[in-house]
Symmetry: C3
Subunit: 251 residues, 3 copies
């Protein structure tokens, strides 16, 4: 989606983690879901809707327990259980439904900018370099913001605003991150600085692409990462959208 | 090799696993060969042909035992020992001599399509993104089939036809794989569906390239992977060639 | 930097290893620095210059010990302590200050060739594919030499000249490496052949790029890799520069 004369693109990944059905009731992971006995799973094959449960046996093999056999290659994901409290929402796949939601909210008023919805962020990457090439060659877009959900840690807390990430396993160009921090400070929207040694995002695929595209991760943080119980503070979602609106205008 | 107006390219890697001679009789792996004491190795340096044996010492160091010192940097591979039985053939490097053989057999009657022979599939990748770029930019080829040899597992058996792989460590786009499965079903050529969590192929390099190229692994399965004794059922080779002929026409 | 009609580009990375300040006095690595209690570190944040020490606690957490708190996201590196003896020099970051120095010395007399200074070699890669694309598309540069510092091993010794690397974790095209070896032999400049199974360089990023660019690592070897005490023989530096001058002319 391209609006006006874009200088910056928002990347929000649409894919989620889950499982693929293998042989003899076995499962293999898609991305890095947490695996606990009894997690409720859902999917669909040619025989119809599926409702089943995750089993982790003593040797750490992943199996499903269902009323019928599921076809080889069927994809299963956590069964949604959306919960809303006064301050928090909780559900599977807030990573990255919220990144997509935030990007769509920004669209409502966006004058100049591009929004990209990517796939394979959770497993293997592959679509961001294609989109980055397209936006770079056709619109000279050289700036990217990664609209995704991060983690609560000892330094990143609920309710303190979205994180602007100085680094995770990837390290973006510091002068670009500093510009974002300055705009964020001037905007008065609350935000927190994140410094991690692990984790990664679509930004790493942009970094590896043969195009000179700056990137920075900006997004709310969640608890219970990659489980059916991902939890995000409502204020952080609002601030995330506010911050994106400012950044898309000023950057 | 380009025939007619190609829509689909077959990628078959030509490289094989092996070893590089280091210092003091030491070896380092090229790709992931299985290492057993006494494996027979062959190679060539400026002093001529080499015939030697693999030694795995107590600390799991890899060494060679030969009549003379071998020059630093010399490449060694398993000594071929081709065996044919009524139903099976057995040799080193069926992975990927058979993928190349199948691609060449398809050439004999191919009207529209491209055949690419790649390198570094077993170690480090690097040639497929160059070929993919060339075929995409010059011929708009956006579909790929990976002509390679897979593994016998609890769900993939000898004599049941080549595998159409739904995933390994890489996950191809499902709608493309589903089209292949439908064509394969309609063709009556036997095949099996594969779902793995590990392993990989030239397809992953296409996925990571900044070009929108679909890929799917289609190939016979073998026992004793990456040893001098790789074993494939003859019927699976014939069906692999038959299936490729159909796919290159219908896809 | 492009001189005349370039056929070959020298890549020398400018970045170095270090640490990023996290939360609660914690640090995360940039690249792969060796971590020993008491290593002297230096950096700068908005409050001014920083002088501090590395602490590795019992659970192998990395912390800093300083007179004041350091701002989140600040980058720290080893405090330089340059030492010169009759035969050796010793300092942090000879990897890759010497690769840059050698490239600049070659510039003084270079008639045809390109020099590229890269970033993120030590962490995550990302700039070489952009530069390689630029030089390939604008100047048809298809040959690269990686001007970087390697390791002293059982087969690579001080004072025997720079290494021409046949392989590390990446394997360059052998016919290109062989041409380099022949030119080096004819030049009478001392050099040594290296064969490693691990380690990597900017060459791997060129290999993965969708451009057909040959690469080979050529550079002096050091002791005490990735510590404040990297040590290189002066003769090897001189021979490295001499060899590059010959290679840039003949290759």
């Amino acid at each position: 989606l391209v609006f006006g004369k874009p200088r910056t693109a928002i990347y929000a990944h649409m894919d989620n983690i889950g499982f693929t059905v293998r042989y003899n009731n076995g499962l293999v992971k898609i991305g890095g879901p947490r695996t606990e006995n009894g997690f409720h799973l859902t999917g669909k094959d040619s025989q119809g809707e599926i409702d089943c449960f995750l089993v982790v046996d003593e040797e750490n093999n992943l199996l499903y327990e269902a009323k019928r056999e599921i076809e080889r290659g069927t994809e299963l994901s956590f069964k949604p259980n959306f919960r809303e409290e006064e301050e928090y929402i909780q559900s599977c796949y807030l990573d990255n439904r919220l990144g997509v939601y935030s990007a769509l909210k920004v669209c409502e008023t966006l004058e100049n900018g591009a929004i990209a919805f990517s796939c394979w962020e959770e497993h293997g990457k592959g679509s961001v370099s294609v989109i980055g090439k397209f936006l770079y060659e056709n619109y000279k877009v050289r700036q990217a913001l990664i609209s995704d959900i991060s983690w609560i840690t000892e330094g990143v807390l609920h309710g303190k605003g979205p994180v602007v990430s100085i680094r995770d396993s990837g390290i973006p160009r510091r002068s670009y991150v500093n510009r974002i921090i300055e705009i964020a400070k001037a905007s008065k929207v609350p935000f927190q600085l994140e410094v991690e040694g692990s984790g990664g995002s679509d930004g790493i695929e942009l970094q590896h692409s043969p195009f000179p595209i700056d990137w920075c991760f900006v997004g709310a943080a969640e608890d219970h990462v990659h489980t059916p119980d991902e939890k995000v503070h409502k204020k952080d979602i609002d601030s995330m959208i506010d911050l994106y609106m400012v950044l898309m205008e000023k950057l």
